[in-house]
Amino acid sequence: MELTLSGDDLEKIHEGIRARYSKAAGSPEGMFRYPTGRKGLELLGYDPDFLRNLPDEVSASYCGVGNPFFLGPVEKGETVLDIGCGGGVDSLAAAFMTGSEGRVAGVDMTPEMLHRAERNRHLTGFGNVTFLEGSATDLPFPDRSFHVVLSNGVFNLIGDKKAALREVRRVLRPGGRLMIADQVLVGEAPSDKAGRISQWHH
């Protein structure tokens, strides 16, 4: 069902998301119905070579809903954008794959998550990753910047999904790949708008 959201509605949704994910930036443990941290990474089949050298403090911040790299590898030297990077574990996994010749950028709208991502980058020593504050509907990059755009558990949270997809199209190079792990609705959503907005990030 198409839902029309006003600017105020979108702001309410964003506030709810920011509040929930600033808390998750501390530790996501117990906040989600699925396993998070190292257990989540192992169950989802992330590359054991990447996980082996990942400090526990870094893996603990993982709260993704799937493994986007299951959709295909990132090749050496490619440029990658991680939309809604959170604590940045997927960005670091992409940095591991693309190697020192490649570049990875992670954007997130929650400052606490970006601090966590920056700390995680420091703990892992990857020099080919940058974390930036930004919105999925207004990406801070020139046209055709990336070979791969990935996103893990984020698109379901975006109010204006069409605008976000337009932005992804803009920053992807011709033939570039979009790899999404996400949640889709399979049951009934609350029929009233207020209910939908309050349930947005649960």
Binding site: F32, R33, Y34, P35, G40, L43, L44, G64, V65, G66, N67, P68, F70, L71, G72, G153, N156, K161, K162, L165, R166, V168, R169, L172, R173, P174, G175, G176, R177, L178, M179, I180, A181, D182, Q183, V184, L185, V186, G187, E188, A189, H202
Partner: protein
């Protein structure tokens, strides 16, 4: 919605098994940006050029030969013909 936004090869590949609520399912979705820049992106109504773009996309689409092989053949042909890079 992803297809309507101009992506090609949109595919729901599998479920992840990680569901964040009783009414949602974790899924993996893949899509590609069209290989050739289309004038439609600029809101142009220059149909002949649009058609040319579509033709190009069709020629290079994965088929008996994959996209990479086709591009390499085209590159070889252009070098043999002495085209400027």
């Amino acid at each position: 919605m992803i297809q309507a936004s101009g992506f090609t090869h949109v595919e729901l590949v599998s479920e992840t098994g990680f569901d964040s609520s009783p009414v949602t399912k974790g899924v993996l979705i893949r899509a590609e940006s069209p290989p050739v820049y289309s004038l439609r992106d600029k809101g142009s109504n220059m149909n002949p050029l649009d058609k040319y773009g579509d033709f190009f996309e069709g020629v290079y689409a994965d088929g008996v030969l994959d996209r990479k092989t086709k591009h390499l053949i085209a590159l070889g042909a252009s070098l043999a013909a002495g085209c400027d890079p």
